[in-house]
């Protein structure tokens, strides 16, 4: 998908003033956040499972080459094909080749964020293929010609009325307003697509080295219809998604749905291992897996290796106050929210992604809910360090930081400056306890008041209190 991260600030401002988006975002809190908390609370082993999941991922990353070889051998033994792609262009070339060989006209797709990384839809459509997203959320935004705004709930920014308008325009049917009717209409329209597509593309949540299986986790069953009814099934996944055994997988099955949607389990966990076998009367005739690197191998051994544990559950964005205010589109690329603010600069480069790690309050909620314990705030801070080292920090900010450092390293001067500052602010507030606007930073008070000090610094108050004793 198109890279719009450089426009983060403008897009964030638009998002804050988009009434429909704000209405849609307000649903998230009551939904995912509350449900996840309940699911975690109901499972006494949840915290220990998170530790185990992180350990398994660390073990895989330290031995990634071996597990990939094992996985590849198992897929090949089952009659499937594994393709490696160094970057998005490489991946597009491979997939276009498979589609061409299959004489495809129509391609159905289950949800795949990796395919968004590849800008796959644009490439396929450009070559004349009809591409149909089948996950209901993905289908909605495909009709709206928009990218996903959340990694597991791509159309989270759309209201029911907007969906009704999109369907009425696309389906040539009377406009439905009932939610169940809308879902039924999409079901009917997409059903025919599944049965007539030559190629079905899905993602891969996990790749099991033991069996050579790709695993997807869905609620709708669209991924299953996509991959079962097409002649050719293509799985797109990242090289880091391999895990050793089915027993290791069980750990992730217990934490993924709980972290993502707060469900004990989703409706479907589907394992695919190669093409149809001898005697089978259904299933794809060809099975391909395209494994994308796209900057992942570079994270190995770096300070960002922990990011490769990510299982794409979306919990970090569900709990992020910044994401909760501006939604996913403002971030301008495939992955929004905290995990995206780490991944986008690492995959797309530091140019044009400056604002992402800085649009974070370091409140730590993302880290506290991450099922594989990725220290997201630390990684975001690390990227800020890199920006500073590479001299990307704006000049004014740098000067201000230098000045602050100079003062902060001199306690006497610091306290003196503090005493002056506090008294000035107190007199400006004129006893009201708050300031409506700041002379040097009107932006800060644009939408809120600054609580004003009462006239003495904390240290003065503390000393006075101790003196009273």
């Amino acid at each position: 998908m198109e890279f719009r991260s450089p426009e983060f600030k403008t897009r964030a401002v638009h998002a804050l003033h988009d009434a429909n988006l704000q209405k849609a975002l307000s649903n998230t809190k009551a939904g995912f956040v509350v449900k996840r908390a309940k699911a975690a609370e109901e499972m006494p082993e949840f915290e220990a499972l998170r530790d185990t999941a992180a350990e398994i991922k660390n073990h895989v990353l330290a031995n990634l080459d071996h597990y990939l070889e094992k996985y590849e051998a198992a897929v090949t033994a089952a009659g499937g094909h594994v393709h490696y792609a160094t970057d998005a262009e490489d991946a597009r070339r491979i997939i276009l080749g498979i589609c061409k060989k299959a004489n495809a006209k129509r391609i159905t797709k289950g949800k795949s964020m990796v395919s968004e990384e590849m800008s796959l839809n644009e490439a396929l459509i450009g070559e004349g293929y009809e591409v149909v997203e089948t996950d209901l959320g993905e289908y909605i935004i495909q009709l709206a010609d928009e990218p996903p705004s959340h990694i597991i709930a791509p159309a989270i920014h759309k209201t029911k009325d907007q969906v009704a308008d999109l369907f009425a325009a696309a389906h040539n049917k009377p406009r439905k307003t009932d939610r169940a009717e809308l879902v039924a209409e999409a079901r009917e329209v997409l059903r025919e697509k599944y049965f007539t597509a030559e190629v079905g593309i899905t993602g891969g949540n996990f790749l099991v080295a033991e069996t050579g299986s790709s695993v997807i986790v869905t609620n709708e069953g669209n991924g299953d219809l996509t991959q079962t009814l097409a002649k050719v099934h293509i799985v797109t996944s990242g090289i880091e998604r391999v895990i050793p055994s089915l027993d290791d997988l069980s750990v992730f099955l217990r934490i993924l749905a709980r972290s993502a949607t707060g469900q004990e389990t989703e409706s479907y966990t589907t394992f695919s291992t190669g093409p149809r076998r001898e005697g089978d009367i259904d299933g794809p005739e060809e099975y391909h897996v395209v494994l994308l690197d796209n900057g992942r191998s570079k994270m190995l051994g770096s300070r960002f290796q922990d990011m490769l544990r990510c299982i794409r559950c979306g919990a970090c964005m569900n709990h992020c106050p910044v994401y909760g205010s501006i939604g996913g589109h403002a971030y301008g690329w495939v992955y929004p929210g905290p995990m995206g603010s780490v991944l986008t600069p690492l995959i797309k480069g530091m140019d044009g992604t400056y604002d992402l790690p800085n649009a974070c309050t370091l409140n730590g909620r993302c880290k506290s809910v991450c099922p594989v314990r990725i220290p997201l705030p630390d990684l975001l801070r690390e990227i800020r360090h890199n920006q500073f080292r590479q001299d990307m920090t704006p000049k004014r900010q740098k000067q201000a930081l230098k000045l602050w450092r100079y003062v902060a390293e001199r306690p006497k001067l610091y306290h003196f400056a503090e005493r002056i500052g506090v008294r000035i602010l107190a007199s400006m507030a004129n006893g009201k306890g708050k300031l409506r606007s700041l002379p040097f930073d009107p932006g800060w008070t644009g939408a809120r008041d600054l609580p004003a000090p009462t006239g003495r610094t904390f240290l003065e108050l503390w000393q006075a209190k101790r003196g009273d004793k």
Binding site: A48, A153, K160, R254, T261
Partner: protein
């Protein structure tokens, strides 16, 4: 250099080492063959069948107890009648020869777009989450699980296990590796993609009924 070689080189470079030696490989292979037993969810219910039914029903599935395989056609017919479904179904041959009531049309082939009812044999039921495990095979077409609007699954009680991991033990004992497709199914198809409100029957079955056998 091929993309594969480039990626493997980059991985090893990142990890700061060359290819693993034989001893290390052997150790990792042993870990796959004999996977560590990780922490599981506590399932201390004495009655696994009751737990299975309770969990499965918590996600809008329905269950019914039957005594023998011969009871399947009557149970399916009663369900079809209550939902006004025509007497026609796709049925996997894994269920064997069943005596269907007069007027029923039974097809053992892959499900086509107009099929409204599918009847399948589950391979395992998992009490932990109230999920069933389906395996694919010539006698268990996978389309039966996803295409029909109503899916009836026959689950023998002796195949209800405690945890996911018990399925893996059974699968390894079966000794044919993984089948082409395996599905954990935990209830009817659902979506929350319109304003995070759950609707059933997104693409897969709108209705799921498990006949617990035995």
């Amino acid at each position: 250099m091929s993309s594969r070689d480039t990626i493997f080189k980059a991985i090893r470079q990142g990890l700061g080492r060359g290819p693993l030696d034989d001893a290390a490989r052997k150790q990792l292979d042993a870990r796959i063959a004999n996977p560590p037993q990780h922490i599981r969810a506590t399932v201390d219910d004495a009655d696994l069948v009751a737990r299975f039914a309770q969990r499965f029903e918590s996600r809008s599935g329905t269950t019914e107890r039957i005594a023998s395989l011969a009871d399947v056609p009557a149970a399916v017919a009663a369900l079809a009648e209550s939902y006004a479904i025509a007497p026609s179904a796709v049925v996997g041959t894994a269920l064997g020869e069943l005596a269907w009531p007069e007027g029923w049309q039974i097809d053992h082939g892959a499900a086509t777009i107009d099929v409204m009812l599918g009847v399948s044999l589950a391979w395992r039921g998992i009490a932990e989450t109230g999920s069933i495990l389906m395996l694919s095979g010539p006698d268990r077409p996978i389309t039966h699980n996803f295409v029909p609007e109503t899916h009836v699954v026959v689950l023998p009680v002796e195949h209800i296990v405690r945890h996911y991991e018990d399925c893996w033990v059974a699968l390894r004992e079966r000794g044919q590796g993984a089948p082409r497709a395996m599905n954990f199914i935990s209830g009817p198809s659902r979506t929350g993609d319109v304003e995070q409100t759950i609707e059933l029957g997104a693409h897969g079955p709108r209705r799921m009924h498990v006949l617990i056998l035995g």
